[in-house]
């Protein structure tokens, strides 16, 4: 089952300039595992050594923040879009 990962501009240099990656996965967690294998540099910018999504990275499935659904266990349907977004933070 293919879903699309939307890569933000600031991380595209970590995956050969691609803005979108096609991944076969049924959950957000499976998507991250696939990225770890296929795009390890991109993955390390999203997750730390423990596999935790970094504090200021937000993942959306279509228009919903995964924390408002089932977190990393959020299920994906064919054609879904997983957005990697940088949270508003800093100062």
């Amino acid at each position: 089952m293919s879903i699309s990962v939307q890569v933000p501009y600031v991380l595209r240099h970590e995956c050969g300039g691609k803005s979108e990656l096609e991944v076969s996965a049924a959950t957000v967690q499976q998507t991250l595992v696939a990225l770890k294998d296929r795009q390890p540099k991109l993955y390390r910018n999203i997750c730390d050594e423990t596999g935790t999504v970094r504090r200021h990275i937000n993942l959306f499935v279509n228009e919903s923040l995964i924390h408002r659904k089932d977190g990393l266990e959020t299920k994906l349907e064919p054609g879904d879009l997983l957005f990697i977004m940088t949270a508003v933070s800093g100062g």
């Binding site: 991380l11 390390r44 910018n45 999203i46 730390d48 050594e49 423990t50 935790t52 970094r54 504090r55 200021h56 990275i57 940088t86 949270a87 933070s89 800093g90």
Partner: protein, 363 residues
């Protein structure tokens, strides 16, 4: 032939590089490098061709290591930053120290949570040094306000001194294979035991290569009921420590620095312990030319009043010219230079972001 003074200034908003002729009349500034995120450690590595390394603490994407081969005109990320082994359970939060190792590509990094990493290829790949990172004491270390950080690495051949907040002073005498706590005489004002085996909040350790057995330490002082524990000296490679705080206005501070040509001359920046700012708003560096027996206040050129800044643990350094200058950066974004070993001070930059670290080299 060395003809330029180069400064690396790590700030809350990236790394700046400043450069001047040997007269140090005017520094030009370039930067910020590193996407404007905080830089807590930098190294000007002059062992072979000069390279600059800096850490970059990216709140979104994690730690990066930046490297420059052209004196900081441009920087590139190294291939990787230190990272804990996958099953370890710890995640890298910051890099607090970058130091040269034994050969030209050997780098050491002190990190948060308190651990040591080593690279043998100029920062492209890193290995955790288990002898301290998995030390039996490590589960009992705890973070101070700045985090649980290994911030000081002082190397002397196979002897390696580490400063950990809050863990204390650890010493290896076998090249980093094993480490032992070496804190006899190092006090802790926040612990029921005034002199614990380990767990002190060391702020900085310094030494001079001509006097390898003598070390100086700025410890977390400022405790009314335990006076004098903040500025210390060791004459036995760090196995035991004695107070040299007498004569200072406060034994609280962060950096301690040794003159590049005289192991008896040292510098501290005493701070008021509750606010961590200059006592009475009157900034001064204090110098001892007697290894800590007597101290002299150096404030010529510094503000006479209303100066309430902090100088952090890695934000004071010196160049190595015949008449060296002392440099310190402040949390209010000023970079100060003290001519003639600190006899007279001049503000080099007055509106940088808050400064975390300053390094100098003559190249």
């Amino acid at each position: 032939m060395a003809d330029r003074v180069v400064l690396c200034i790590g700030t809350k908003k990236g790394l700046f590089v400043a450069e001047a002729s040997k007269s140090r009349g005017r520094f030009s500034l370039r930067g910020p490098f590193g996407s404007g995120v905080a830089v807590y450690s930098a190294l000007i590595d002059t062992r072979k061709s000069t390279r600059i390394y800096a850490s970059s603490c990216n709140a979104w994407f994690g730690m990066k290591v930046l490297a420059s081969t052209d004196l900081g005109k441009k920087f590139k990320e190294t291939k990787s930053a230190p990272a804990f082994p996958e099953k370890d359970g710890r995640a890298l939060a910051n890099i607090w120290s970058l130091e040269p190792g034994s050969d030209s590509k050997d780098l050491w990094a002190g990190v948060e949570p308190a651990s040591l990493f080593r690279s043998e290829d100029g920062g492209n790949t890193w290995e955790m040094v288990a002898g301290i990172s998995n030390h039996k004491h490590s589960k009992d270390w705890h973070p101070g306000a700045g985090g649980l950080c290994l911030h000081t690495i002082v190397r002397d051949g196979d002897r390696i001194h580490l400063g950990i907040s809050t863990g204390g002073h650890y010493l290896s005498e076998d090249g980093g294979q094993t480490f032992n706590a070496a804190n006899e005489g190092v006090g802790a004002g926040f612990d029921p035991n005034p002199y614990p085996e380990f767990g002190q909040c060391v702020h900085k350790i310094a030494r001079h290569p001509d006097a390898p057995g003598r070390l100086y330490m700025q410890n977390h002082g400022g405790w009314p009921e335990r006076p004098g524990i903040g500025v210390l000296r060791s004459d036995d490679f760090g196995h035991t420590w004695q107070s040299i705080a007498e004569g200072l206005p406060s034994d609280f501070g962060f950096p301690i620095l040794v003159h590049p040509h005289d192991p008896d001359t040292i510098y501290v920046v005493p701070l008021e312990p509750m606010t961590r700012t200059c006592p009475e708003g009157k900034p001064a560096v204090w110098r001892s030319t007697t290894g800590g027996k007597k101290w002299k206040k150096l404030s010529k050129g510094l503000p006479k009043k209303d100066g309430y800044f902090t100088v952090l643990h890695d934000a004071m350094t010196t160049d190595t010219l015949a008449s060296p200058a002392i440099y310190f950066g402040t949390t209010t974004g000023q970079l100060w230079m003290g001519h003639d070993g600190g006899d007279e001070w001049k503000c080099v930059f007055d509106s940088l972001p808050p400064i975390n670290c300053v390094k100098a080299a003559v190249v």
